[in-house]
Subunit: 148 residues, 2 copies
Amino acid sequence: MPTSHTDPVTLEVVELIGTVVARYHQEYEEAAAAHSLTGAQARVLGLLTLEPTPMRKIAEKLKCEPSNVTGIIDRLESRGLVERRPDPADRRVKLAAPTDEGRDTARRLRDSLHFAREPLGELTGLERTLLRDLLRRMLGEGPAPSAP
Amino acid sequence: MPTSHTDPVTLEVVELIGTVVARYHQEYEEAAAAHSLTGAQARVLGLLTLEPTPMRKIAEKLKCEPSNVTGIIDRLESRGLVERRPDPADRRVKLAAPTDEGRDTARRLRDSLHFAREPLGELTGLERTLLRDLLRRMLGEGPAPSAP
DNA sequence: TATTGTTATACTCTATAACTATA
DNA sequence: TATAGTTATAGAGTATAACAATA
């Protein structure tokens, strides 16, 4: 039963994943910088394009303290990419939402993220399906290897 | 020829890799914090355990400006985990090297990084070999699918 | 002249604690 | 009283520019 954590194959997979992580982050930061955004600002902006979000919830997604979100939204707002709206249901809450320009910036940024797409070009459709199923199982997102 | 960058499988793989990256980073930061180190300090300390390294080269590995390395090494040095040594071959160069305590801390930190080992426990040896070969090809590290 | 490391400066992200306005 | 958001503060990482020592 090959579940050892120190066999050569496992160690190499760990190292390869480390390489993937490093490349992913580097490209993400560069793509953000190309739009004059920091990584944190880019992440928040991307988050808000899904739906207007209370400050508190943004902090949870970012896994940081709520007080930090104030500054990040401040800077995005001062650039006209985000606005604060009142929540009709609870006057304590402020919803952060992207402006039209913010949505446009987020879209262009998303399109510029080539990583994990360029490299995947090396793999056939079958191999990508295989990779998807392996990653799914690894992440415990159900072993269901559905059809491509 | 399935090399599209927008088919459902590719998009899901991209998303899964994003999840892997997020989990990896989170656990790395937590492991570093458990040893009272920042992520950057932990990365540098790990780097130095491979070999004593000139300040300039550390900056290249971290992909940051050399001026930043001064502060990171300062903080590691003030805690007794790292020391600066002269380079006999070039008196301009300072080599950063871990102390015994630094090496010990780096080892304990490395042992505490469970990610990409725990999740891999879900996969059989054959599946891990498969995953390794897919990641290798994706990263352009040679298509050689050597035996497990 | 060019390179290595450092200093000085400014900005962003981070956590902590105290504050306000609502609930 | 409890919660949402903010402010104030301090520490760390980052880039830029200028500097001393050495090559």
